[in-house]
């Protein structure tokens, strides 16, 4: 059966159509979940895409986490459903407490839209089950607040539990321990700053993102 992918749209989100496009190319049935509806509509996986939910005013993700859909996402995650936050989505999942840590302004205090290389640090996550540990992927970044931070004990825990999912090969934003993405303890919620959907087509210069998006679809197959 076709995997049903729900892509959340908050006011200010802007990568939702891109994620839907990339997922559709991979054969999924992807559609929008409106932030104001308190349900994930029975989808197989939820993606919180990039953009500027609520303008990123106050702090990235600060307002979005109160949207009615977020309780449904939390319940879905608690029941083991695969949830991926990309860029702003990662920031929102951190604010919502579904992932540890926070994302601060880039160390250079400038927005960065550029190619990045990330190393897959674990294949035990819904986003990397189809990737090899140590594999380097070319996936663009596009953010002002991508500088990952958490307290020392959280970092120790992430490291000890193999929950750092990606590290930058060359740290572009000052992120702690070069972290580009992390997952929760159950490994079904993953957040990352780079945009896999932007590396989903030959014409876009890289298809490495499909390794990740494809992993999500296989994770769904396993869950169901």
């Amino acid at each position: 059966m076709t995997t049903r992918v729900g892509v959340i749209q908050f006011p200010g989100t802007n990568c939702e159509l891109d994620v839907i496009h990339a997922m559709t190319q991979l054969g999924a049935d992807a559609s929008i979940l409106w932030h104001g509806d308190p349900t994930v509509n029975g989808v197989d996986t939820v993606i919180v895409p990039g953009g500027f939910a609520h303008g990123d005013y106050l702090r990235t993700g600060a307002i979005a986490r109160f949207s009615p859909v977020m309780q449904a996402v939390a319940d879905f995650a608690a029941s083991g459903g695969p949830v991926v936050g990309i860029c702003n989505g990662f920031q929102i999942l951190c604010e919502a407490g579904l992932l540890p840590g926070a994302l601060q302004k880039n160390a250079g205090l400038k927005f960065l839209c550029e190619p990045a290389e990330i190393r897959v640090e674990t294949s035990r996550s819904v986003l990397t089950n189809g990737a090899q540990v140590g594999q380097v992927l070319r996936v663009p970044i596009n953010h002002f607040e991508g500088n990952y931070i958490c307290d020392a004990s959280t970092l120790a825990e992430l490291q000890a539990e193999d929950r750092v999912v990606f590290r930058y090969v060359r740290n572009p934003n000052g992120a702690l321990d070069d972290i580009a993405g992390v997952c929760n303890a159950a490994r079904n919620v993953v957040g990352l700053m780079p945009h896999p959907e932007r590396a989903s087509d030959r014409l876009l210069g890289s298809q490495d993102g499909n390794v990740l998006l494809g992993s999500v679809l296989s994770a769904c197959a396993k869950v169901s």
């Binding site: 006011p11 496009h21 990339a22 303008g55 400038k110 927005f111 839209c113 596009n142 932007r198 014409l203």
Partner: protein
């Protein structure tokens, strides 16, 4: 004695008399205020109108030409593209971040007012020299403003231009180009339809910011010490605009609007009167219905405020509820502020709609605003013939050739430079200095601050001759380039105007596209100076001639006059945005890069043309001579040839020759390909005897450099001969040096370093 009201509002005595004649009585304060903004240079184009008529605007693929929010062209498969370019120069001089940000917001509204989803921005920018601290502040602020607004509103900035020249020190130019995509049946026009229709104001509350913005900021010179006359700075709200875009696109999709117009210069006065005037209708507006951001705003303020992020939608009463529901869902404020009438008059009331039973109720007023709503049978506070607001005066301003022009043109830099740089002199240092010139140097410091990938269309982003966007679901792609070359225009505005068009068209061709439409932003000095008006007229003629020759319709534009400060006018600076179409995009178009082992081919002949060149002007301070010839016939042969080459996979790399000439073009390709190159100047096709320095640095138009597999060279040369295009192999890519034989030789590593980090280094000073 204090100036009379109309003078304070920036109107001449004659203009005031015209208003009195129109009304048959003295205007009220509100009426006069509306006329003053509507008849301002910025809104009425009173000085430029007679000239702009000369642009060729027709082609079978043009769906909407100049005059609407944006031009629209058919690109096949039921798809259309809307394009527009606009300036935000004066606001950016006052507050660089917000000035640039609100410029982005404004141009995006123009494009989605046509029914299109905005999918790309480009930003042609001009600043003073980076050794001036204030210029560095303005430059960084403008770039952050575009980044801050464009990224958050969710429209990628896929390219642009940055030029540094002293003439922009106190008057930076911030032009913004936007492109949108729509299906044919989604096209929206700013019309009001039948009497009884309602005008719904959508978006931000109306504040005092930007009151008189159009007339105060963009329609007069920038006097020293005019600080207190400045309207308060407009702050952009990209989140509001993003919701406004989505709400409007949903309204269009569901066919819920009759017409729509953005609120730009002259605010509600303009949007409400224009939509109705077009269809020969009238419009009543009730200011009590306007959502206010500040207490105690007067009708004058409410009608002329240029607060950002607002749109006016005309809807039928039957569809109002659906419209309000869509707005509510997107958290967009919406209130019924106008009623279409059959009076052909524009009437303003304060508190009449409730009594008439027009749906909607007066919105809550801000804290501290207890102003009483006037009774329903009160007389209008403005009542004017609706057409008269948009039918301002037209000025046939005097034209005069600048006194010193002939002398300047005669003083060609060629003479001085020939003596200083005779054949045999080492030109390596000249080349390195050119590569490190901020105008030529790498712009990645700028473009990486912009999201240039959103929507997954960007096949070629910033860094090549043109940006290339695929049209998903088709095999088609668009190529876009923005260009300007003010120094050429200063030396000969007519030739310069044509050269700008040729360069943009060539950039688009290098991406494999056929140029289809052009928009222009004409940045000039004070039109009350006959020399400036002459420059303007000549530029329009030069651009028109080039466009006509290339079958390139002008579908829109914008005029920015009064770019003067401390009595000095900027160089005449037309910028253009050209959109080209690739019908069948098979491969990623070739980059402006060399490939190791390839032959380096030059198309087009070089002439000793140094007037206005980067080398003569910037490196040697010689601002004189004549610009290169604008050979329109040669362009007509070259462009289709180049487009075909680029799109057929026959070349591995391709780059047009512009700033800095052949030497810079080839060095840039070497840097981009991360490979050295050995060139033999003797092989370069010339149309006239040239010194070595002239071959390297002349900025002759109609030239392109290609990187071609050795195996394909003969075929390509034969094709060029058949197309009557001068062409020759001039060298081979390889090694670790960028070498032009004995006359210039620089290490690839050093060339890369000076080019790549020049802007960052200038900023760290």
């Amino acid at each position: 004695m204090a100036d009379s009201l109309h003078v304070q509002l920036g109107m001449t005595d004659d203009e005031f008399e015209a208003v009195v004649a129109e009304l048959g009585r003295e205007p009220t304060h509100l009426e006069l205020a509306m006329y003053s903004v509507m008849w301002s240079e910025h809104c009425s184009y009173k000085s430029s109108k007679p000239h702009l008529k000369r642009f060729p605007t027709d082609a079978p693929w043009v769906m909407v030409g100049p005059g609407e929010g944006a031009g629209v062209i058919d690109v096949g498969r039921d798809l259309a593209v809307a394009i527009r370019i606009e300036s935000h120069n004066h606001p950016s001089a006052v507050e660089p971040y917000q000035g640039a940000a609100t410029g982005v917001g404004g141009i995006i509204r123009d494009v989605f007012s046509m029914g299109a989803r905005p999918i790309a921005l480009m930003d042609p920018l001009r600043f003073g020299n980076l050794d001036d601290p204030r210029t560095r502040y303005i430059f960084e602020g403008v770039v952050s403003g575009i980044s801050g607004y464009g990224n958050a509103v969710g429209v990628p900035t896929v390219g642009g231009e940055v030029v540094f020249d002293d003439c922009y020190r106190d008057n930076p130019l911030v032009n913004v180009f936007c492109l949108g995509l729509l299906n044919h049946d989604e096209l929206q026009l700013a019309v009001a339809g039948a009497p009884g229709n309602l005008a719904v104001l959508l978006g931000s509350g109306t504040g005092r910011d930007g009151i008189g913005g159009a007339s105060v900021l963009a329609s007069a010179g920038f006097a020293e010490g005019s600080l207190d006359k400045r309207p308060s700075v407009q702050v952009g709200d990209p989140f509001e605009e993003k919701r406004l875009i989505e709400a409007c696109l949903e309204l269009y999709r569901r066919k819920l609007v009759v017409g729509v117009q953005d609120l730009g210069a002259a605010g509600l006065s303009c949007a409400a009167s224009e939509t109705a005037a077009k269809g020969g209708a009238g419009m009543d507006v009730d200011v009590a219905r306007i959502v206010r951001r500040e207490p105690k705003m007067t009708p004058v303020e409410l009608l002329t405020s240029e607060s950002q992020e607002r749109m006016l939608a005309i809807v039928t009463p039957e569809q109002l509820d659906d419209v309000l529901e869509v707005a509510a869902r997107w958290e967009v404020r919406a209130s019924v502020v106008g009623l279409v009438t059959d009076t052909e008059r524009f009437r303003v009331y304060d508190g009449r709609f409730d009594a008439l039973g027009i749906p909607g109720k007066n919105p809550a007023r801000p804290h501290g605003d207890n102003a009483e709503v006037l009774s329903s049978d009160s007389a209008p506070i403005a009542d004017v013939p609706i057409g008269s607001l948009g039918d301002g005066p037209v000025y046939y301003r005097p034209l005069a050739v600048p006194d010193d022009l002939a002398e300047r043109q005669a003083d060609d830099p060629r003479g001085v430079l020939a003596t200083k740089f005779a054949d045999g002199v080492d030109l390596s240092a000249e080349l390195l200095t050119l590569l490190a010139t901020p105008t030529i140097a790498d712009k990645t410091w700028v473009s990486r601050q912009y999201d240039h990938q959103l929507f997954l269309n960007t096949v070629v982003g910033p860094g090549s001759d043109a940006a290339v966007l695929r049209l998903k679901g088709t095999t088609k792609a668009l190529a876009i380039s923005t260009d300007g070359k003010a120094r050429f225009c200063a030396l000969d505005p007519r030739v310069g105007g044509a050269l700008v068009v040729l360069e943009a068209a060539r950039n688009v061709a290098c991406a494999g596209a056929v140029p289809k439409a052009l928009v222009n932003c004409l940045n000039f000095g004070n039109p009350e100076h006959p020399e400036i008006m002459w420059q303007f007229s000549e530029v329009v003629d030069g651009m028109s001639e080039a466009c006509a020759a290339l079958d390139l319709p002008v579908v829109g534009g914008n005029v920015s006059f009064y770019n003067e400060s401390r009595g000095a006018n900027i160089d005449p600076t037309p910028t253009v945005g050209v959109v080209g179409l690739i019908d069948d995009l098979k491969v990623i178009p070739p980059a402006a890069a060399l490939r190791d082992g390839d032959a380096v081919l030059v198309l087009g002949a070089t002439a000793p043309e140094l007037g206005g060149s980067e080398w003569a002007s910037v490196l040697h301070g010689l601002h004189a001579g004549v610009p290169p010839i604008a050979d329109l016939e040669a362009a007509g042969r070259l462009l289709p040839f180049v487009a075909e080459l680029a799109n057929s996979g026959a070349v591995a790399g391709i780059h047009d020759v512009s700033d800095g000439g052949l030497a810079v073009a080839i060095a840039e390709m070497a840097i981009a390909g991360d490979v050295g190159v050995v060139i033999d100047l003797a092989g370069v096709p010339i149309s006239e005897a040239c010194s070595q320095a002239e071959i390297l640095f002349s900025e002759t138009s109609n030239r392109v450099v290609c990187s071609v597999s050795q195996l394909d060279v003969e075929v390509l040369l034969a094709a060029a001969v058949a197309a009557e295009i001068p062409a020759a192999v001039v060298g081979i890519a390889g090694g670790a040096e960028v070498s032009f034989g004995a006359c210039a030789n620089v290490g690839l590593v050093e060339a890369t370093d000076v080019w790549r980090y020049a802007i960052e280094r200038s900023l760290r000073r």
